[in-house]
């Protein structure tokens, strides 16, 4: 503000100086800051006001010391609870207690707020700004900031904190464990989708992607289910039951699949559910990654087939700088394999393929890719 006042007093419109004045001076950094969008909006608005004043100075118009004064109510908004997607409405009352028209703009820190168009408020007058926040993005407590910029020199900017607690519009509950083991043949699991708040959600179609041979069907459903994530015990619920059928003959290892339900809800036209499935032996993670290598290093990966007793041994490496140093059985069907980069590889991207022998007749050999960045 002092920078702006200085510019006006000197009858000089120094854009750089004004932009500097509007940048974040509260940060403990010693370099100039680049404006973020909403701050640039504020700066632009002030620049416009300065240009108007400058024109008046050029025209030698007398500028009286009129002073608008803003009173903002409330200074923090707790919008209470809202259902996901339904929006959260709020009001801000702005009163002009000064002797000149009060101009204001409201700059939210998020595009999830609908624009709140400005109007001038005459001296002694007040206006109620009606705002709305889109609550479709997240659930739980949500906090944002509304920056109110005015021509009240005593209070040119004021941040109004906004918070709302968003209840989920829908829930999906799967009867499959986090990791679903699939046999060589077919396997099925069910997902229940229901509206946890508001009107029922009608599912129009369902599809599965990410896994060859997987299909899904759906039908309307009513039953009793607990929702542990929402801390709800068994309750009577109704919605859609999605049955997913997997063909174990068409994949091996650990995979993720996505179930997509197209619905009639305008805010949630597509609802997705993800499920991890595994057939046979899987290596975890998918690739062994050393990251940046400044010298010899070791890392570990896991070879797993839960509830089986396969044996694992005899690893070979396609790169002489990478070798398996230890294969440790953790529990039946699970091994930790220690891999070592011995150093000395040329600088650049390091790759290797590790191949190990197993006693599983379906997968006599497993292969794992190794990556790293030799510095």
């Amino acid at each position: 503000v002092s920078e702006l006042t200085w510019s006006l007093r000197c009858d000089v419109i120094d854009r750089q100086r004004v932009l500097r004045a509007m940048s974040r001076a509260d940060l403990p950094t010693d370099h100039e800051t680049v404006l973020s969008g909403w701050e640039a909006n504020v700066a632009g608005y002030h620049l416009q006001a300065i240009e108007e004043l400058n024109q008046r100075i050029t025209r030698k118009q007398i500028i009286t010391s009129a002073r608008p004064r803003v009173k903002i109510e409330p200074e923090a908004i707790d919008a209470g609870e809202a259902v996901q997607g339904s929006g959260s409405e709020f009001q801000i009352k702005l009163t002009n207690t000064g002797n000149a028209p009060l101009a204001y703009r409201i700059f939210p820190d998020c595009s999830c707020f609908l624009p709140m168009p400005p109007t001038d408020i005459p001296p002694g007058g007040s206006t109620i700004v009606r705002g709305r926040m889109d609550t479709s993005i997240g659930i739980g407590p949500v906090r944002h900031r509304l920056l109110i910029s005015t021509n009240d020199v005593e209070r040119p900017t004021k941040v109004v904190n906004f918070q709302v607690r968003v209840r989920p519009r829908y829930r999906t509950l799967s009867d499959a464990p986090d990791l679903l083991m699939v046999p060589k043949g077919f396997a099925t699991f069910k997902v229940h989708l229901y509206a946890s708040a508001g009107d029922p959600i009608l599912v129009k179609s369902v599809s599965v992607s990410g896994l060859p041979g997987a299909t899904a069907t759906f039908n309307s459903w009513q039953g009793t289910l607990a929702d542990p994530i929402m801390n709800e015990g068994p309750l009577q619920r109704s919605g859609t039951e999605i049955t997913v059928k997997l063909d174990g003959a068409q994949f091996i290892g650990r995979k993720g699949l996505t179930i997509t339900a197209e619905t009639d809800d305008p805010h949630f036209r597509s609802i997705t559910v993800r499920q991890t499935v595994q057939r046979g032996i899987a290596t975890l993670p998918d690739a062994v990654y050393f990251g940046q290598l400044f010298g010899p290093a070791t890392t570990t990966f896991v070879v797993s087939k839960p509830e089986s007793d396969f044996k694992l041994a005899g690893f070979t490496s396609s790169n002489p700088h990478v070798k398996v140093t230890e294969v440790k059985a953790i529990k039946p069907g699970e091994y930790q394999v220690q891999v070592q980069y011995t150093g000395g590889a040329p600088k650049g991207w390091l790759t290797s393929i590790l191949a190990g022998k197993t006693s599983d007749p379906d997968q006599p050999e497993i292969k794992v890719q190794v990556q790293g960045d030799v510095r």
């Binding site: 997240g138 739980g140 900031r145 993800r274 993670p285 690739a287 990654y289 990251g291 990556q371 960045d373």
Partner: protein
């Protein structure tokens, strides 16, 4: 004169002995809180200014540090899921946080579904910085406590069920807090709890354990602009998606300063972290993850060229818009093979009949007419019998989200592409 000098000397010595001792200067500590990235390693660069990202965070952290007297805490949830790409993100984040000098990285119940293999990999890449006290023992060795300077740090997940898969004994957040306070008192350290739990959980724990110095919790949206205390316990959060960090200063009377730092473009990318991030992009490209994007059956797309003969004005407006070179924007950032970014920079990636690659389907290598109006091959052949529905603001919403397009204002943006 013979008497005066010895007397003056004795007086001076006496004064020196009786002078009040000067207080030793107490070194202050900088405590920098970040985390809850949920896989948001970097702004994808589609609109500006976007906030957050590891590369900027490293620069900001460096600027706010007090050298050795700095404690850098990350509240975990490094990845946003368990897919191959999320695994790569978790590894990249762990490696970057090590390079940033992180004191402790919370391994939360949201990280646990990545599995043992990933936990071991993250632990190696982080330089043994993963911390949780919610599970003890088991197949992956995670730190339970980290001591640095005047602090003792531990970490807890409010719902530790997912961590139970590691085979150890799980502890409630209340047990972790009790354990932390006892050990901190024995070592005369200030106890800090990293919590994978909500503000409500943080208030509950602060009320039950008033000896805690700080609880870092998880929230949606921005961190509160002012510090919040429950009794003497400071509650803080870095907000969602790693878009901000919170800097606290610790002095002789405890935490004495609180500042939220939004990670905007004023912070240049840190070169060390940029190299780590570039390796991540390389791995995403090599794994050809773009080919694994879920696709569904739709009617056929025509390509924007087919629209031009009838919709000349609209085509002209589009050609001069950012939509017409949306993929090129990503190419300059080397993000054009990232399946998280590409859907909003091409036409019909979600369809079996839309964008495949720039080489295979150059006619869809931008945000074309059909990105908003839908597949239009039938319409292009017979417009009268296959009219396209009118679209409005809702057509923008899937891409212009608050995360990717923070300053999106339909009225303002529409003027740029009005046709």
């Amino acid at each position: 004169v013979k008497l005066w000098w010895p007397l003056a000397g004795i007086t001076l010595l006496g004064l020196a002995a009786w002078a009040p001792p000067t207080k030793p200067k107490v070194a202050k500590w900088s405590v920098i809180l970040g985390g809850d990235m949920d896989g948001y390693l970097s702004p994808c660069g589609c609109t500006s200014p976007m906030t957050g990202g590891l590369r900027r965070r490293a620069t900001a952290t460096q600027e706010l540090s007090f050298g050795d007297r700095t404690v850098i805490l990350d509240n975990g949830s490094l990845a946003g899921g368990t897919s191959t790409q999320e695994q790569m993100k978790a590894q990249t984040a762990a490696e970057a946080l090590r390079a940033m000098g992180a004191t402790a990285i919370h391994f939360t119940s949201a990280d646990a579904p990545l599995g043992q293999g990933l936990a071991l990999s993250m632990q190696a890449l982080s330089g043994n910085r993963l911390v949780t006290d919610s599970v003890q023992g088991g197949s992956v060795t995670l730190k339970q406590l980290v001591e640095k300077g005047p602090f003792l740090v531990s970490a807890a997940s409010t719902d530790p069920t997912a961590l139970a898969n590691f085979g150890g004994q799980t502890l409630s957040d209340d047990q972790v807090a009790t354990d932390l306070v006892v050990k901190a008192q024995a070592r005369q350290r200030a106890p800090i709890l990293l919590l994978h739990g909500s503000h409500v959980d943080a208030v509950r724990l602060a009320t039950a354990h008033p000896k805690l110095a700080l609880i870092q919790y998880r929230t949606t949206g921005n961190p509160p602009p002012k510090a919040e205390r429950v009794g003497n316990v400071l509650l803080a959060t870095a907000g969602e998606h790693g878009k901000s960090i919170v800097r606290l200063i610790w002095g002789p009377k405890g935490f004495e300063a609180y500042a939220v730092v939004s990670l905007g473009p004023q912070f240049a990318d840190d070169p060390k972290i940029s190299r780590i991030y570039d390796n991540y992009l390389k791995r995403v490209d090599q794994a050809n993850l773009l080919a694994e994007v879920p696709r569904r059956e739709t009617v056929a797309f025509a390509g924007s060229k087919a629209c031009a003969p009838c919709h000349q004005t609209a085509t002209k407006v589009w050609q001069s818009s950012a939509h017409a070179h949306a993929l090129a924007t990503l190419e300059t950032k080397h993000e054009d093979r990232d399946p998280e970014c590409v859907p909003c920079h091409v036409t019909g990636l979600e369809s079996t009949r839309g964008f495949m690659s720039k080489q295979e389907t150059p006619q869809f290598a931008f945000v074309g007419c059909e990105s908003c109006h839908g597949p239009a091959l039938d319409h292009s052949k017979s417009p009268a019998t296959n009219p396209l529905p009118k679209v409005g603001e809702s057509a923008c919403a899937p891409c212009h989200t608050s995360l990717n397009s923070p300053n999106f204002d339909f009225a303002k943006y529409w003027k740029r592409v009005q046709h």
